[in-house]
Amino acid sequence: MAQHRSKHLLPGFGLSMGLSLFYLTLIVLLPIAAMLLKVAGMGWPEFWRIISSNRALSAYRVTFSSALFATAINGVIGLLLAWVLTRYRFPGRRLLDALVDLPFALPTAVAGLVLVTLFDASGWYGQLLEPAGIRVSYTQLGIIAAMAFTSVPFVVRSVQPVLEEVETDLESAAMTLGASRWQVFTRIIWPAILPAFIGGCVISFARSLGEFGAVVFIAGNLPGVTEIVSLLIFIRLDEYNYEAAAALAFVLLVVALLTLLASNALAAWQVRYVDRKS
């Protein structure tokens, strides 16, 4: 080791750094920079006019509100699934655990095709819902369903490992001291899983904001009513309106960056929480 001139103990710093930077620059940074240049070249008034147009504003509203609803649904279902998977042993548990990842493995276009068929007036779910006056296909409910489907694993997979770590002796101790099950949950378990739960919700929300494949099949894509931001960008490209596409894509890129920073901050919070406890 003495003749190693590198200040690092392990080899491969130069190689892995070189390869990583070269690849990230070529595949990720350069294309993003090209788009930023396009946006920078259009001037502030033009940029502002595009991103604050009525059609864009409705698209933001539809996308954000749908993603919020989808995340709320996933928060509840995700917490339930994580709880059942970690706390109980029952036949079919392994199968249920494997199934949770289906939305990650199933292409979004296939998910969209399936959802639009299920919720169609003559589909398996549509048959039951339409007589009750609930229309899902080609409405905002359809967008919410598509977003919820594609992001359901996020909350489960971030809460599950933390829930496994919560010490059961702490819970038993609380129980013997006379705490009710509900008190144990709200005082011991909930504070421990909260950072992971919020983190999972943030990623689920980010994924929902960006979802395209599943949504376009079921949304009906009516401007101002069921048109999401990703689709509006796609339409602007189709019209050869590249400036508008670049400006709107820039908005989505910034939002993605912000959610990423938020989820990293939450991860740091989780680590600090664990450190403080031990």
Partner: protein, 270 residues
């Protein structure tokens, strides 16, 4: 609370609810795909798959995956090695940056490539002068697929390698192993299941990518249509049987992905 004690009514209720949600959200969609794809019999199903445009889409999708998965495996391993084995300035920034392609809308992924290689893009004039067409060709599909799946392998390996620490590798080096010997005989066997799992996820995403590919492919029938685009095309043509036949091939890959994932996790636990 554990397996030994009899479950309360509430616990059974929660388990039943979990199965109900999973059934409605996850099982019913899978059943639907195959029941519609096979509605008119196996013969009609095979005909729909063997239709030249669909078959070509299968070919393009598989070729893209064969190119993209190995590249992102190598780069993902290098990235994970870099951020888990060394401390350097900008490391946290790099970790956040790796995640960006997966966090952003796939449409944005397509758009940024359009502004680099398209005729309106940064390199557009240069490419036109050289007579090279990148946009709307299979090369563009490969490039955006590399972009959207860049984080997948690293994301699997980073927590794994962080948890494993560096003792094994330092021991190998102190026993006189060269860097490559250490990598092949110590690091690689330690991370192989994580690496395979990352590759499986990368493969699933590459084969299923829709948004980014639909921006850069131009969707020329029989030339730059991948399977997800072909499904969309068939659906818009009201060819429901064809769309579901094409979708069933991707659904089968998804089921295999889940199966492989469960197996890999079982192996890793051993």
């Amino acid at each position: 609370m554990d397996a030994q004690t009899p479950r309360s009514v509430g616990a059974n209720l929660l388990i039943a609810l979990a199965f109900l949600f999973a059934g409605m959200l996850l099982v019913v969609p899978l059943v639907l795909i195959f029941s519609i794809a096979l509605r008119d019999g196996v013969g009609a199903y095979l005909n729909a798959i063997l239709e030249p445009a669909t078959l070509h889409a299968v070919f393009l999708t598989v070729t893209t995956a064969i190119i993209v998965v190995p590249i992102n495996m190598v780069v993902g391993a290098a990235l994970a090695w870099l951020v888990t084995r060394f401390r350097f300035r900008g490391r946290n920034l790099l970790v956040s940056f790796i995640e960006l392609p997966a966090a952003v809308s796939p449409i944005v992924a397509g758009v940024v490539y359009l502004f680099l290689y398209g005729n309106q893009g940064l390199l557009g004039p240069l490419l036109q002068w050289a007579g090279v067409q990148v946009m709307f060709t299979p090369l563009a599909i490969v490039l955006v697929s590399l972009f959207v799946t860049a984080p997948y392998v690293a994301r699997e390996l980073i927590p794994l390698m962080q948890q494993q620490g560096t003792e094994d590798e330092e021991a190998a080096l102190s026993l006189g192993a060269t860097g490559w010997q250490m990598f092949w005989h110590v690091t690689l066997p330690n991370i192989r299941w994580g690496l395979v799992y990352g590759a499986v996820l990368t493969n699933a995403r590459v084969m299923g990518e829709f948004g980014a590919v639909s921006v850069v492919s131009g969707s020329i029938r029989g030339q730059t249509n991948t399977l997800p685009l072909q499904i969309n095309l068939l659906f818009n043509d009201f060819n429901i049987a064809g769309a579901f036949a094409a979708a069933s091939t991707l659904a089968l890959i998804a089921v295999l992905t889940l199966l492989l994932k469960s197996l890999l996790e079982a192996w890793e636990r051993r």
